[in-house]
């Protein structure tokens, strides 16, 4: 489990993910990776687009949802598939990071589905043991 970054959770209409990370920063990065893996095939996504992201929230759960929704905004407004997420600063309750990926090219990239949004339904961010954080989140598909 220590090496697993995320896992898909079944839901009748939508899809959830559970993500893990040794640190909160890793957890947030892995949750983002999990979300983009639902959207498309990331193997062939190269590093041609980089941007800075900064978000805040009321608590870690709110911060996670806001972070993922900010990335979905980038996906749609900039038309980019993201695959690398580096969290530079994470506090109570704000986050700054650099994300990178590639503008979508339908000839090159496989898109699985549109993730409409990240919801607050059953959202969880927990430290389950020393050096292991776990998050759960559901998406509207």
């Amino acid at each position: 489990m220590a090496t697993e970054k995320f896992r898909i959770l079944d839901h009748t209409a939508d899809i959830g993910i559970m993500a893990w990370g040794k640190t909160l920063a890793k957890l947030f990065a892995n949750a983002a990776l999990g979300m983009f893996s639902l959207i498309g095939e990331l193997d062939r996504v190269e590093n041609r687009f980089t941007t800075q992201v900064a978000v805040d929230g009321n608590d870690y759960e709110d911060l996670l949802v806001t972070w993922l929704n900010e990335l979905l905004y980038l996906f749609e407004a900039e038309g980019v598939l993201l695959k690398e997420f580096t969290i530079q600063d994470l506090g109570q309750y704000y986050l700054k990071g650099i994300v990178s990926g590639e503008p979508i090219d339908v000839a090159k990239h496989t898109i699985h589905r549109v993730v409409k949004a990240c919801t607050y339904y059953e959202v969880k961010v927990e430290k389950i043991r020393p050096q292991l954080w776990r998050a759960q989140v559901y998406f509207d598909i």
């Binding site: 079944d10 009748t12 407004a77 589905r113 549109v114 919801t119 607050y120 509207d140």
Partner: protein
């Protein structure tokens, strides 16, 4: 897999099941699920009934927390959920009670063509439609609105694009709210939402959204069908889409705002996705004004697609859309919150009615129903899944008394996407559908597999329940002959 729900369900009659108030602390009203005995077993398989109970905790809720027979597990509200709050008694508005795809809905176009007229040209027609109507993930429209035009569309909805020449002048008469929900204020919409919206107007999108060509197969009530202008073997076109990324962003923005507002107002709800504020609060008012912008965007969207459907038919048949009789039968929203007056416990009250995967189904004589249909009630458009076709129902007086004039919205999913993926692996879905007489063209094969017919409940059973319960009546059933998916 999802947990089974073991809560109490008291059988009221064969079609109504009550979740008592005592089930959960905080429930202000009881819950009710409209379903057959057989469906109830399936409904218990996940947490949808718990979501009905959670909605019953919303401040100001009156009547019952309702779920239509197409109920399935959602986030916050169940899909198929209906809840009314009394806005004059501090009742709340909840963005989660509308959902991300604000004014996702259905428009139905009727024609004077029959199946025999269309069959020989079907392949060509589908190709032309697919070319003319942008669909799929990240699809951009054929037109891009300037910010000024986008703001006009937010306020005037379908009426704005009709004025721009995309439609017949009378199309607006046959749209819920005449295609322009009042109270929209573009100032309440974020720059991000506008950025996502400006290129997406006039696009079908992906997922469960589609455009379908159908043939009237069965007429249940010829008298009402005649009022709706429907006849046996008639070709219909159904458009199912919503407010695209524009609505998604508005919901996202306001859910975030409501998280903070709830703390300020001391509101507690059992699920954060149900976050809300009283309708009269600044946050409640701002959300309603922004939501109305998204609702109007969606009506503008379905209007533009209507125009391109007409152009496509004109191209294939070499006759004008007028001549082909391509008219809007009706257009309904199935993800929306509206201010409506309803009688609750003998008293007329002003309610904020949330319909999340539920359709307005006003009965005869109601003012909100277009004049030509008023003597019989509102047409209710119920799309099935890809393989099974659609029903047109009519609203009833009992719905006015019992469900704030609401009914089901579709088949309702019963299989998760990963399960659908498992059972459809290696299958050629387009060929399977073609064998059933349905031509399918899709942007994405993955979408087709997630949307396989067996992933959905039987829409026939869903409409049977609403008919038996008396909250709407079947008018016609239409069988699909072609489907365009994003």
């Amino acid at each position: 897999m999802a947990e089974v729900w073991n809560g109490p369900l008291r059988k009221l009659d064969d079609w109504r099941w009550i979740i008592p108030r005592e089930y959960k602390k905080g429930m202000l009203v009881e819950g009710i699920i409209y379903a057959s005995e057989r469906m109830i077993q399936a409904i218990r398989k996940d947490q949808a009934p718990e979501q009905v109970a959670n909605v019953a905790c919303l401040p100001g809720i009156v009547g019952r927390s309702m779920a239509m027979p197409d109920i399935h597990w959602g986030y916050g509200f169940p899909i198929g959920g209906v809840a009314g709050t009394d806005v004059e008694e501090g009742g709340v508005i909840s963005p989660g009670g509308v959902g991300f795809d604000i004014n996702c809905g259905v428009r139905l176009l009727k024609t004077q063509l029959t199946e025999d007229d269309v069959k020989p040209y079907l392949e060509k027609l589908v190709t032309v439609l697919f070319r003319n109507i942008p669909s799929g993930v990240g699809s951009e429209g054929k037109i891009s609105f300037s910010l000024q035009d986008l703001k006009k569309a937010m306020v005037e909805g379908a009426q704005f694009v009709i004025k721009k020449g995309f439609g017949f002048p009378h199309d607006g008469e046959y749209i819920e709210e005449r295609g322009a929900l009042r109270g929209a204020d573009p100032e309440m919409v974020s720059a991000k939402a506008m950025e996502r919206g400006k290129d997406q107007v006039g696009t079908l999108g992906s997922g469960n959204h589609f455009l379908e060509i159908e043939v009237v197969e069965r007429v249940f009530r010829p008298d009402i069908a005649a009022v709706f202008g429907l006849f046996s073997r008639q070709v219909l076109i159904m458009i199912h889409t919503g407010s695209r990324g524009f609505g998604h962003q508005i919901c996202t923005d306001y859910l975030e705002k409501m998280q903070s507002a709830m703390g300020r107002y001391g509101i507690k709800v059992p699920d954060r996705q149900l976050s809300c504020a009283s309708f009269d609060s600044p946050e409640g008012q701002a959300y309603f004004a922004a939501m109305a912008c998204a609702a109007n965007f969606a009506w503008a969207n379905r209007q533009l697609i209507t125009h391109w459907v007409r152009e496509s038919f004109e191209e294939v048949f070499g006759r004008s859309a007028h001549h082909l009789g391509i008219e809007v039968l009706y257009d309904v929203a199935h993800n929306i919150a509206k201010i409506e007056e309803h009688v609750v416990e003998g008293k007329k009250r002003k309610l904020c009615v949330h319909r999340k995967g539920a359709t307005r189904a006003f009965g005869a004589g109601e003012e909100g129903v277009p004049e030509v249909y008023r003597q019989v009630g509102q047409p209710v458009l119920i799309p099935g899944d890809m393989g099974t076709g659609s029903y047109i129902l009519v609203g009833t007086e009992l719905a006015m008394q019992e469900t704030f004039g609401s009914t089901c919205h579709g088949a309702g999913r019963m299989m998760s996407r990963s399960e659908a993926d498992r059972v459809s692996r290696g299958r050629d879905i387009p060929s399977e559908l073609l064998r059933k007489g349905i031509l399918v063209i899709a942007e994405s094969k993955a979408t087709l597999r997630e949307e396989i017919p067996e992933a959905y409940k039987d829409v026939g059973e869903v409409v049977k329940v609403v008919e038996e319960a008396g909250i709407s009546k079947r008018v016609i059933y239409a069988r699909p002959i072609a489907v365009i998916k994003g």
